[in-house]
């Protein structure tokens, strides 16, 4: 009887230790931040934006050797970063569900943007000499005509680093926010400079000018 009690205690201890190890070996980060509205001139186009479920619910899970299993939730931050960004970049933006857009939107939109978070990589150093947590992420921005015709895809990346503190999760979150701000900076300052995008914008402006001319002629 006493032997059974000892065994039971040992099992309980092992289970507790196992649970402790499991809890201790997993790190969870929810990236939450307010992103500022960029100080830029809006491009003269009205755009639809597709925020799909993958972007809304993006979670990166990775086991780092000698460390732990990391889960990093970026869904809310994706939307918090992209919404004010596109609102400032274009004359008008509207969320659309799918392509081709509905009959109302097809007449009132110049194009549709579909952002996708393609890659997320991060590094949490082990050594004391390494001072920074690093995050690298890559988004793909696909530009479509409202009828669903593909125009161009542009990949844009951002890098962020943050001082490694005792709170490793917080350091990863900070580095991710820096990387996302970098992505936002690149999109807002370089989108219109991409050759295919610049050509597409020129076409839209020519179409607008023609439409104005025909209205004046009538």
């Amino acid at each position: 009887m006493r032997n059974r009690n000892v065994k039971s205690s040992v099992l309980k201890l092992a289970a507790a230790a196992g649970c402790g190890l499991l809890v201790g070996c997993s790190s969870s980060v929810v990236v939450l931040s307010d992103f500022p509205t960029p100080l830029i001139e809006p491009l003269p186009v009205r755009m639809g934006v597709i925020y799909d479920a993958e972007l809304y619910d993006f979670v990166h899970a990775e086991q780092i050797p000698q460390q732990s299993i990391w889960t990093i939730q970026l869904g809310d931050a994706n939307i918090a970063m992209l919404e004010p960004l596109f609102d400032a970049m274009f004359l008008e933006t509207r969320e659309v569900e799918d392509l081709p857009v509905g009959p109302v939107d097809i007449a009132s939109l110049d194009g549709v943007i579909h952002p996708v978070l393609q890659r997320f990589e991060f590094d949490v150093p082990i050594g004391q000499r390494d001072e920074f947590v690093e995050v690298w992420m890559q988004y793909g921005l696909s530009l479509y005509e409202p009828d669903g015709q593909f125009v161009v895809e542009w990949t844009v990346s951002g890098y962020g680093k943050s001082e490694l503190t005792r709170n490793r999760e917080q350091s990863v979150e900070r580095a991710a926010i820096v990387a996302m701000r970098e992505v936002g900076a690149a999109i807002s300052t370089q989108f219109a400079e991409q050759a295919d995008v610049a050509y597409w914008l020129e076409e839209r402006q020519n179409e607008s000018a023609l439409a104005v001319d025909s209205r004046i002629a009538n």
Binding site: P36, P38, L39, E131, K161, E163, G184, A185
Partner: protein
Amino acid sequence: MNPRWQSTQESPIRSLRPARLLLALAAGSVLMSGCGVTSLMEPYKQTDAVIGSGEQVVVLARKHHASHEAEGDFVECISDALARGDNGIEVHPSTQFEDMMYPWFEPSTAPLDTGELGELLDRPGVFEQVESTGVRFLIWLDGSTDRVSSGGGITCAAGVGGAGCMGLAWWEDDATYDATVWDIHELSNTGTIHADFSGRSVMPAIIIPLPFIARPQAKACRGLTEQLEQFLTSPAGDGEGINLG
């Protein structure tokens, strides 16, 4: 009292005294020679610009280097110290400034010289936004505090009769920073202050570890702040390096 015992055998407590004294002297000399901060400040002011009433400064960290970055708490230390006191300078919060000027002061987009700053201010709405913050001077902090060497060791043990440590550990930190001041109104580089503070900390352990920690980063913050105050309030800089050590 037994006089015989006294003459032939010393009290165990007494016999420890010279040893303790020697140990204390040794530890003291190590501490005196080892613990401390050496410093070098080199301020160089190029213009006569001074801060006017109602004008503000903002302290920003240079973030485009892969290897180092001025620490957030160091930026905060300089900002707080400049704003402190009766004659404190008006300091705009760094994060708020970066948010208001987004995306133009991110690591990849921030201007690297006053020429690029001029180009940035020519962009639509940017100069007006800077004006609305009230900021006239940008103070760029570049550098970091790094551990350059360390050595020694402390061993601790615990037993039935008690616990204790024995040994000596030391480490040396180097705080090297450049503060570059830009005048937004004049679109010019007002000057640069170079600060190099080095400090060696020691921790002897005789039963209890006793840390004697040198804080070169805190001293660099104090030194840079004093120089920046002079920079921003005195019309002419002497351009000479001074040693505060």
